[in-house]
Symmetry: C2
Subunit: 341 residues, 2 copies
């Protein structure tokens, strides 16, 4: 028998579905991804409408999961499905619920894990958590965090998510929602964050944060020589800033310096809290390589108490970006099996 885990990642646009073995080999991945139900234009969604959309989504997802299992069985009839791991926004590991997700057309608290579990009574584990927590577990089970008992994972995309590993397990906290480092205050009274708060890490150290810093610096220097000068905010990406930095643009370089300064200072705080062995950076912004890693590392060391200096590694995630979401979600299951040994 070959043991496998199903990994599902519910994004705002698409739902990724895959089948993964304990070594992190993706045996099957649905392509193209399944569409996630979209929010209705009518802002006054009722419970009944939400329930109907959810019911259809769970039915569709169930069919897709069954199809995925069949696909893998065609290659290896001897597979045993150990569980279904799900990464989703506002997912609560303890209760298996998705709670008031901002970008999904569901109101209130949805008992998502048990709805899926009901359709797969033969599968032992159906577990869910948010995507950054799942990524941290993926790093621990398949990636650079293998063998580490204490590390942090920062997923830097449009926003900034985090997953914290302490004493070999994910930190879920009292309510299941721990690990929201994107929303710690790094500049008191600073930029408005997507969550409504001010000066949060995510407003500075994310693709969006990088973009905002670009225009702050363009406003400061008003330099028509910068290749960034002609690009509207609606079209700006981290990749464009990276390319400008590669061409020597001082504004683009300063953008990364500022981003790294703030990220490094915050990671120093993370170390003061948790003293991890390493901090992994994952996602698009982390792809800027030395432009982001160097100033981040330098800043972190500068802000650390002496006892913590030159101890904590800042590393790129070893999860392949394209399959990271599926890997992370499936890792939930291997972790669950380990816990229940």
């Amino acid at each position: 028998m070959k043991r496998v885990a199903i990994g599902i990642d519910i994004g705002g646009t698409n739902t990724a579905i895959g089948v993964v073995d304990i070594e992190g080999n993706v045996l099957y991945e649905r392509k193209p991804q399944m569409a996630t139900p979209q929010k209705l234009e009518n802002p006054h969604m009722t419970q009944a409408v939400s329930d109907a959309i959810m019911s259809k989504y769970v039915t569709d997802l169930t069919i897709e999961i069954k199809a995925a299992i069949e696909m893998v069985k065609q290659i290896n009839p001897e597979i045993e499905v150990m569980g279904i791991g799900i990464g989703a926004p506002n997912a609560n590991y303890y209760s298996g619920t998705i709670e008031k997700p901002a970008n999904l057309p569901f109101v209130g608290v949805v008992n998502f894990a048990s709805m899926i579990q009901n359709n797969f009574p033969e599968i032992k584990y159906v577990k869910l958590t948010n995507d950054a927590n799942a990524a941290a577990l993926g790093e621990m089970i398949y990636g650079g965090g293998k063998g580490m008992k204490n590390f942090a994972m920062m997923t830097i995309g449009t926003g900034l998510g985090s997953g914290l590993i302490v004493n070999g397990d994910l930190v879920y906290g009292a309510d299941g929602f721990a690990g929201e480092c994107g929303h710690v205050t790094v500049v008191p009274g600073g930029r408005i964050c997507g969550c409504g708060g001010r000066g949060h890490l995510e407003a500075y150290c994310s693709a969006t944060g990088i973009k905002r810093t670009v225009y702050e610096l363009l406003a400061k220097y008003n330099d028509p020589e910068s290749p960034l000068y002609k690009i509207p905010m609606s079209e700006m990406t981290s990749k464009i800033v990276f390319d400008a930095a590669e061409k020597g643009d001082p504004i683009a370089k300063e953008v990364f310096e500022i981003t790294g300064e703030i990220l490094g200072r915050t990671l120093a705080d993370t170390v003061h809290y948790l003293s991890p062995e390493a901090i992994f950076l994952f996602g698009g912004a982390a792809a800027a390589g030395d432009y982001i890693f160097k100033p981040t590392k330098a800043s972190m060391e500068r802000y650390l108490m002496p006892v913590f200096r030159n101890k904590v590694k800042i590393l790129p995630s070893e999860l392949k970006e394209s399959s990271a979401a599926i890997l992370g979600a499936s890792a939930l299951i291997w972790k669950e099996i380990e816990k229940n040994k």
Copy 2:
């Protein structure tokens, strides 16, 4: 047989020694406390001098521990000593070492736990950790944290220490030194901290921080009506500020407002990291009651993401201040027994 644990707290001035049962009853406490060896005036302490001082200290401490056990045996001959728990500055739980303590006359890394263990081969556990970590364990074993799996403890005295409980255990991190919340940056580029850093929590939210805020506000308002106006910084205490606030002094009240604002913002960050069930405040500054708890709670709620609001309690520690150090240190042993069950 009545099971007991020895609790020892090594402070910069005195060493507290006591014997505690599993309910947190202090069966014996050495009074007056034993003197801790003091730093020599000669700043060029050699290893040999450090070793000699340490050797004498361990000998003296061993005698005191034996005496303490005898004292308790006189009342109840049936006691069984389960272990010796030690709270000390720069203590490493994993290695049992005290590493480069700033306020003790020891250089380098001292294998403190094994030196004590050698003198008590019949006692199973000799464990040490820093005083704030010990306090958090004390709160969990004997105090308000009983039954909680996730909480944080902030000990607010001359400095600010912290102990973090995650998944029912203390967070030690990769190197044994985790939980240094006093040194997270709360005001980038702000006040110089005792550790040499800038803008750290401890520089604002501690007895020393409160004192500094007093003089910042006295400088701002230059108000001769304030009862604080005539007191030099060398004589200012949190108690004096508290008394002034009680008499209605607006500067004293604002001091607590500012302290609570910064502490609450930082505790919101703590929640974003760890989502604890409660945060306990311990120590002299916490004794200011509503003056500190009210603005801290209000500020924390203001800075929390909606998902965390109105969930996390800020509570006064239930450990009696006079015996908290001994209780905390002894709690290390009960926790160790639980872990090894």
